[in-house]
């Protein structure tokens, strides 16, 4: 994944954070997902202005995790969101 790309929520997604967990609904398929705390934090950082690298740096700063591990986890999670049409990359 290109770390300079900027992820943004897909226009067909509805999301709301409830008690620290993001509920992400893919309206196309009516699929409802609840994200874990780190996933929720990544979701909150996906705003169309931050790059993948920016998000990785936020996660490194906020959680006890190495750069390499954060990069791997964030990219893997973003790829899952991409495959589900929950985000787009620009």
């Amino acid at each position: 994944m290109d770390l300079s790309k900027r992820p943004t929520p897909h226009p067909q997604v509805a999301a709301r954070v409830v008690d620290g967990s993001a509920i992400v609904i893919l309206a196309d398929t009516a699929e409802v997902n609840v994200l874990n705390p780190v996933g929720t934090r990544v979701w909150e950082l996906i705003d169309g202005t931050r790059t993948v690298q920016d998000i990785v740096q936020h996660i490194v700063a906020e959680y006890a995790v190495s750069d390499a591990q954060a990069a791997q986890d964030v990219q893997s999670f973003l790829q899952t969101l991409l495959d589900a049409n929950a985000i787009t990359l620009h």
Partner: protein, 278 residues
């Protein structure tokens, strides 16, 4: 002589059905099916013109793996199409139109319409079994196979609203559960036109014994939203559903009911209600 129109009232939301273009057997079937929900004609209620017409399937039934219902909402207009039915409803005009093939039934169109009516009133049509017991409404929800019909069968001593769909209606600061004439796997069960203040919401989980576990708020909201049919196709509507589920889960306790195939789960619910002081 059969009326050429009937008026339904479901959750106190009325709808006139104009049946001029339906033959007597079709009108008779409608009256039989929805008798408990028929009320005197309401001139101010929206009206749907229903007709039966021969012709090709709207969606070919041959080769269809599952029963298909296509629905969409564009502004005030709701579109509906299934194998033997096609129709629309214009909310602003208060008018709709439904064409049935001879094998068609009106029920799925009504389900879609009332799902939208509910959403417009900060309420929900929910895939759930609804039971009235001692003046309170209990709702057991979950996907197909989770045990909604089983729960209804095990609650025959009480008033069964539905084994498949109920309306959760917001009235002031409260939520009430309302019966609907739509039925799941219990076609012969009575269709009860009744409602009560909601006493509890239970996500169903088949188990070998009866017990309740708490459901975290995000999981409660998500599990409820997964049981809301027809109205989630656009993000703004999905967001509204989420907001209503959030409001509902904050006002009414949501638990997972682990249950086996006997009516002992009511004792567990009674103990829980007693502990809450409800």
């Amino acid at each position: 002589m059969l009326e050429n129109r009937i008026t339904l009232s479901i959750a106190d939301w009325s709808l006139n059905l104009s049946l001029d273009e339906c033959d007597a057997p079709a009108r008779s079937r409608l009256l039989d099916r929805y008798a408990a929900f028929c009320v005197p004609y309401q001139p101010d209620a929206p009206t749907v013109r229903v007709r039966v017409e021969s012709g090709a399937d709207f969606i070919p039934i041959a080769g269809a793996a599952v029963w298909q219902i296509r629905t969409a909402r564009r502004d005030q207009r709701i579109e509906f199409e299934s194998h033997f039915e096609r129709g629309w409803f214009d909310r602003a005009a208060g008018q709709g139109d439904l064409t049935l093939r001879p094998k068609g039934v009106i029920e799925n169109y009504l389900r879609v319409l009332y799902a939208w009516f509910a959403l417009e009133h900060n309420s929900l049509l929910l895939h759930a079994c609804g039971i009235l017991r001692d003046g309170r409404g209990y709702v057991f929800f979950g996907p197909s196979g989770s045990g909604k019909t089983t729960t209804a069968l095990l609650s025959a001593a009480h008033t069964i609203l539905s084994d498949d769909l109920v309306i959760i209606k917001r009235i002031g600061q409260e939520f009430h559960v309302c019966g609907v004439p739509f039925r799941g796997d219990l076609p012969e069960a009575p269709r009860t036109n009744a409602s009560a203040k909601l006493g509890g919401l239970f996500a169903l989980a088949k188990e070998t014994r009866h017990y309740l576990t708490p459901l975290a708020l995000p999981d409660a909201v998500a599990q409820l939203a997964r049981c809301v049919p027809f109205v989630m196709g656009q993000p703004e509507h999905a967001r509204r559903v989420t907001d209503i589920c959030f409001d509902l889960a904050q006002r009414v306790p949501v638990r997972t009911l682990h249950f086996r195939r006997d009516d002992g789960f009511w004792s567990v619910i009674d103990d829980h209600q007693l502990a809450r002081g409800a």
